[in-house]
């Protein structure tokens, strides 16, 4: 397996990394779009059901009622229309009560109300809101089973005075559909939200009632209003609900829309009181001599109703799950920021103290290994910078079968402390191993062929080795080409994401990666860990974890600066990050055994690895959720609050970034890019992560190219080995 990473033949999933292009294959894209679409549908439906979308919460004030027939205003609580369109009012017979409950069904109260009704052996008439009926179909069934009558109270509890016919039709139709799906019934009963006694019908509502009449609805009003929603106390409720003079009455209660405990409490008392006065209780239409307003639903309506209940059930299940995921991820992100700030500060204070030192100064010579493949543009600078090092170094350039004369360039420089080792192209890990073999000193610094050191980099990098427990040291890699937008983004990321992180990980003792661009190692420790392995695409992460497991300390030397050239285009960036995230997952998986190991290996496995997995894989993986819910909230629910929440998260980031910049003494100017980075760069990163996760799951092979140059080669010998 050692060489397949570099020379893998195209496998089953060839589209994964095509030559130099962004690798996003079609079937996966379609699937992702479909999944996203379904998710958006779920979110929109949920918003619709919770009156977040398309809501109209206006309530009209009662106006004049000149055009409302007196018979209606002075009539009974039930309104029907004759064939000729003339209104007919109905009154309940004396000593008859129709208990009506509005706004339900509600999981908290409806069952209790039904229990009271059952206990007292009386039926109720429930005017249900379509949204609630769709969300709690079982309660509708309970009501129907208990002998209760059901009426429509619109779908989203809107004031119909403000709605046009299309909206009214929709409110009615969808409520009937919800009832059909929930309990197989439809109903002819209706009560408008915000209605009350018949004499409260005004000129704006009268046409609505006429319209409802043409649709066949029996409109119900109220004789006595218990005003239970005000929660005035049981005694008041009972008193307000009692009709005078032994008249029959349609009485208003609520079984939803707030704390209805008083309603439940008062109900039993009320029923007993009225029964003692000789009242009987019926459903509304029964009191008028009809059988029932509930009718059996059948055919298309029944099945569409069931479909509605089904899609609603899924949405109602999914959204809380998403919400809790968001909460968990949000908490993790915030915790990470807090931890980072606290620990980075501590790191800076401890290491910044004048009296701090690792031990006696390290002055022994150091071997610097520079693996190079087709680096003719940069190698001269690289080697030149090393040659100017203040620390005694031996520089070993390992030419990994370059075809552009990289080795020749180095040799032509003729520097005294530089040696060139040539080999056939075998990949970076192999090149590093070769360099290790040739290294004469006990301390080794490994870097990339395009990295430039400062004169004191090596010196600062190796000082921590004065502490015998230290096995590896991570330097401070900086982005050199930061004048472009992409460069600036990566610069921010390097300063904040990598280096602030490294301070935190240093103190926690679980640094996952010593950067390949600037890292110092004890040669013995490296060899003991098996050298650099080609098992993964991220050999730097791999070997760092191996060192942790062997018990070595890995620290961060923030003063040891190295300048790298970051990818300049999105495509190159994508490939680099793809390789990094895929390689990190490979490395973590390779060392999964450390979870159950003893000793230092176990410590890393149980402390370090979970932290790394949580912060570098899980939270970035769920970052899209934050974006999605922010967009949903901003567009549909409450733009101000959603954007405020997002801005709050952003300001936490800015704070961290500013602190990171301060610690590194970087110019704050680049922070201006941060907001834009959060909108574009972050998305890019989690797309890369998702992509590499999918690749890891499907087990595809990758053909990797270097950043700017093509890495197509192989000598016949290497290809033959790869073909094995």
């Amino acid at each position: 397996m050692a060489r397949t990473a570099r020379h893998a033949a195209p496998g089953a999933i060839t589209k994964v990394a095509s030559a130099g292009r962004q690798a996003v294959p079609r079937p996966r894209l379609v699937m992702a779009v479909l999944g996203l679409f379904a998710l958006v549908c779920v979110m929109l439906l949920d918003g619709y059901l919770h009156s977040e979308i398309g809501n109209d919460s206006r309530v009209h004030e009662s106006g004049s009622s000149d055009r409302v027939p007196a018979s209606v205003l002075e009539g009974g609580p039930v309104l029907t229309f004759g064939a000729d369109g003339e209104p007919v009012s109905h009154t309940l017979p004396p000593r008859t009560i129709a208990l009506t409950f509005d706004d339900g069904p509600d999981p908290r109260w409806t069952a209790k109300v039904l229990a009271v009704l059952r206990e007292h052996d009386v039926p109720g008439t429930f005017f249900v809101v379509g949204q609630m009926a769709a969300r709690y179909p079982a309660l509708i069934r309970d009501i129907v089973d208990s002998g209760g009558e059901i009426g429509v109270h619109t779908f989203s509890h809107v004031d119909l005075a403000y709605q046009d016919r299309a909206r009214i039709d929709r409110e009615l139709a969808q409520t009937q559909l919800a009832l059909a799906g929930a309990a197989g019934i439809t109903t002819s009963l209706f009560r408008a939200p915000y209605s009350s006694e018949p004499d409260a019908v005004d000129d704006t509502m009268w046409p609505v009632y006429r319209y409802l009449g043409t649709k066949g609805y029996i409109s119900a009003f109220v004789d006595t209003d218990s005003e239970d929603w005000r929660r005035p106390g049981v005694a008041h409720i009972v008193r307000d609900a009692t009709p005078g003079n032994g008249k029959g009455a349609s009485v208003l209660f609520h079984d939803a829309g707030g704390d209805r405990s008083q309603t439940v409490e008062a109900l039993g008392t009320y029923i007993d009181t009225m029964k003692a006065k000789g009242y009987t209780f019926t459903t509304l239409t029964a009191s008028l001599g009809a059988t029932t307003a509930n009718h059996r639903a059948s055919g298309a309506e029944l099945w569409q109703g069931r479909a509605l209940i089904g899609v609603v059930a899924l949405a109602e299940f999914t959204m809380p799950v998403l919400f809790w995921l968001l909460v968990v991820v949000g908490a993790a992100v915030l915790a990470r920021f807090a931890l980072m700030l606290v620990l980075a500060r501590r790191h800076a204070r401890i290491r910044g103290r004048r009296r701090f030192s690792w031990g006696p100064a390290v002055t022994e010579p150091v071997s610097v290994v520079v693996p190079a493949y087709n680096e003719k543009e940069c190698i001269a600078n690289t080697v030149g910078s090393l040659a100017a090092s203040t620390h005694p170094v031996e520089i070993i350039v390992v030419d990994d079968g370059s075809t552009d004369g990289t080795a020749g360039i180095v040799e032509a420089m003729g520097l005294p402390r530089v040696r060139v080792v040539r080999q056939e192209n075998a990949g970076k890990p192999a090149a590093l191993n070769r360099g290790l073999e040739h290294a004469r000193h006990a301390l080794v610094v490994m870097m990339d062929g395009d990295t430039v050191f400062e004169p004191d980099t090596v010196h600062r990098l190796v000082q921590p080795f004065a502490d015998p427990r230290v096995g590896a040291v991570a330097g401070n890699a900086k982005v050199g080409n930061r004048s472009t937008v992409i460069g600036a983004w990566q610069h921010i990321e390097y300063v904040m994401g990598f280096n602030l992180d490294r301070r935190m990980y240093d103190l926690l003792g679980c640094m996952p990666t010593v950067p390949g661009a600037v890292g110092g190692f004890r040669r013995a420790a490296l060899l003991e860990a098996g050298g650099m392995s080609g098992d993964t695409l991220a050999e730097d992460t791999d070997v760092t974890i191996a060192l942790h497991r062997a018990g070595w300390r890995v620290v961060y030397a923030e003063q040891a600066r190295a300048w790298t050239e970051a990818p300049g285009t999105i495509g190159q960036l994508w490939r680099q990050r793809y390789r990094w995230s895929y390689g990190t997952m490979q490395a973590l998986w390779k060392h999964r055994r450390s979870l159950v190991d003893r000793g230092p290996s176990g410590r890393f496995g149980r402390v370090g690895m979970p932290l790394v997995v949580l912060f570098q894989i899980v939270t970035p993986l769920f970052a899209p959720l934050i974006d999605l819910l922010t967009v949903y909230g901003a567009v549909f629910v409450d733009p101000a609050r959603s954007l405020l929440a997002w801005a709050a998260l952003m300001s936490v980031q800015v704070l961290c970034a500013a602190y990171a910049f301060r610690l590194d003494r970087e110019r704050y100017r680049h922070l201006l890019m941060l907001p834009l980075q959060q909108i574009v760069y972050r998305q890019l990163m989690y797309l890369v992560l998702i992509h590499s996760c999918v690749t890891a799951m499907t087990g595809g092979r990758l053909r990797w190219q270097k950043l700017e140059r093509t890495g197509e080669v192989g000598s016949p010998q290497a290809s033959a080995e790869a073909a094995r």
């Binding site: 059996r296 509605l308 092979r701």
Partner: protein
């Protein structure tokens, strides 16, 4: 690491992905079907009036769509979605006979005891459990003089079209009629 040369894992994942994709598309389709459906019209429920003994509602109880012709003649056009033929109750305010007191609504209704009936919507004819209800008819004509005037008088309904015996419960004249 992770590379699966046989491609088996890839096939499994691909199939799972396909299934998930189909499920997502199916959900969207189902959602469209559900939201597009439904009718704003209500089923027909007849409310008996003074002149029409509970018989009308007996038919109403059966779903409202199978009402007898002459009952429906007055108020209901042939369409099932006729406006609630509550016109009936006020059609002929005069004939308040004891027979009218027998609302078919009481049919099958246990007069005193509560026998929770199965969902009324399903059987139509099974009314909700309640104590003996007092039918409203006699009061309606008095209260709604205006509407009654404009309602076409139904010839038939004076005489109960449905045998009063239909009413399962006994008509209970009494204090309900006193005032």
């Amino acid at each position: 690491m992770f590379v699966d040369a046989s491609g088996r894992r890839a096939r499994i994942i691909r199939r799972a992905g396909l299934a998930a994709g189909v499920a997502c598309a199916g959900y969207a389709v189902l959602l469209a079907v559900a939201l597009a459906g439904g009718t704003p019209f209500a089923p027909q429920t007849l409310i008996p009036g003074a002149d029409v003994p509970g018989g009308a509602s007996a038919q109403a109880g059966a779903g409202g769509r199978t009402g007898r012709a002459h009952e429906r003649a007055a108020g209901a056009p042939g369409a099932a979605h006729a406006p609630a033929p509550a016109a009936r109750p006020v059609a002929a305010p005069t004939a308040v006979t004891a027979a009218e007191v027998t609302p078919s609504a009481t049919k099958g209704r246990a007069t005193a005891s509560a026998t929770p009936a199965p969902a009324p919507g399903r059987t139509g004819a099974t009314p909700t459990a309640s104590a003996s209800p007092r039918p409203t008819p006699p009061r309606t004509p008095a209260a709604s003089a205006t509407p009654s005037a404009s309602v076409p008088v139904t010839p038939g309904p004076d005489t109960p079209a449905f045998p009063p015996g239909d009413a399962g419960g006994d008509p209970v004249p009494g204090d309900g009629w006193d005032d």
